[in-house]
Amino acid sequence: MPVMPAAIRTTQLTRTFRSRTGEVEAVRGVDLTVERGEILGFLGPNGAGKTTTLRMLTTLLPPTGGTASVAGCDLTDDPRAVRRRIGHVAQAGGVDPQVTVREELATQARLYGASKPESAVRAEKLARQFALTDLLDRKCAALSGGQRRRLDIAMGLTHQPEILFLDEPTTGLDPGSRADLWDLVRRLRSELDMTVVLTTHYLDEADALADRLVIVDQGRIVAEGTARQLKERHGGSPDATLQDAFIAITGHGPAQHDSTAALSI
């Protein structure tokens, strides 16, 4: 069997922002390898550099240092080739509330180079797969939270990408929609061999869904491994919760305050 190159490989990936108060190092030398067909959970406290890393890997933000190859293409030399091979579902989603579901799906297919008739067929097909058929001619504003999320993800899959990036995909969803989404992500991998990189704040989600976790803090990778490995190594025992391990790694526990003082409202 030929050895497949990794889906993502970064070397010392760095992003520095210039602000009025000086330079801010959002991402400081990240070395990351994601294998093909892997579901990778990307965790870290707010401001740790998760979103900045994701924005670099999805060509939205040029790195200020380091190199990366995504889906076999160099991020800096050939961003367009990377774009053809990846899907990205941002936290904000990315559909216009005033536009119909059909129009968004079809236009998205056209942005990936599909012809007009082809894009109409793809819109129908995606709608069937994501249980959106009855909603095709509704405006996006009329969808529920769960339906919106399914549409967002369908938009990211119009061109059958090799790698799908999901930025906090279940934030704001009810438990039922969340379970549906987990199921969907697992099927993307098992049925389509897709590589999935997702960021999340929900540790139970990371625990249940991801094959491997990468924890970033202050722009650096501070731990990586399976959920079990992290619990053993950092939480003290395999029975520890991922939350224990996470807090031990990042040192960001509940805010330190005088817990003996009575709350007064």
Binding site: T58, T59, P97, L111, Y112, G113
Partner: protein, 251 residues
Amino acid sequence: MTQLLTDTGVIFGRYLRMTLRSRFALLFGLLQPMLFLVFFGPLLQDIPLNGGGDSWQTLVPGLMVQLGLFTSTFAGFTVIMEKQYGVIERMRVTPVSRLALLLGRLLRDIVQLLTQSVLLVLVAVAFGLRAPLLGVLIGFAFVGVLALALAALSYALAMWVGTPQEFAPVVNSVNLPATLLSGVLLPMTLAPGWLDAISHFVPFRYLVDAVRRAFVGDYLAPEVALGAGVAVLLAVVSLTVGTRVFQRAGA
């Protein structure tokens, strides 16, 4: 190149359909110049404006430029909304040509402004405007180039700032003085020397003067050539700025 054209067509189609869905907004944009036409135009009928033609031939070209100034400078507002919905980033993750994202929108803006201008001229004809067809067509050409230039700048500004609160004041602080100083309602030749002098620094003035000459059939007047030169220069500068902003990754 073919990709640029196809992509531009796709983006143009998307935004044109959005405009067609909100035809009310199209008419609403016409409200201000129509009000000037109907409630202000008749006041000028017997006043000598030394414009070479009658008062309608002086006022309507001004109103066409005013329509462009007010409509096209706000074109970027949609980009600000789309940024908040995540639409801009979603499109930028696709392999679509970055330039097409700008050109497709600009094409829609030109079509929209030309449609509005045609309606404005038709109503003006009902009120008594008489002008040679060629002159009116030249007027539309100027309006189209103006729409291109102003909308490109507006999109560039919208990509650069983050919120409507930052965007609107900048646009308003340009719009009103530019309108007043370009002699939209009355020709600047009526102005005292100092005001006339200032207005020469406002590029739109040359466009208004050019369209006025065209409306009286004086196509070879130096004002027409000067106006065309200024319009093209404005468009080149604006498109350069717009293209830079849209092609910069991460914008």
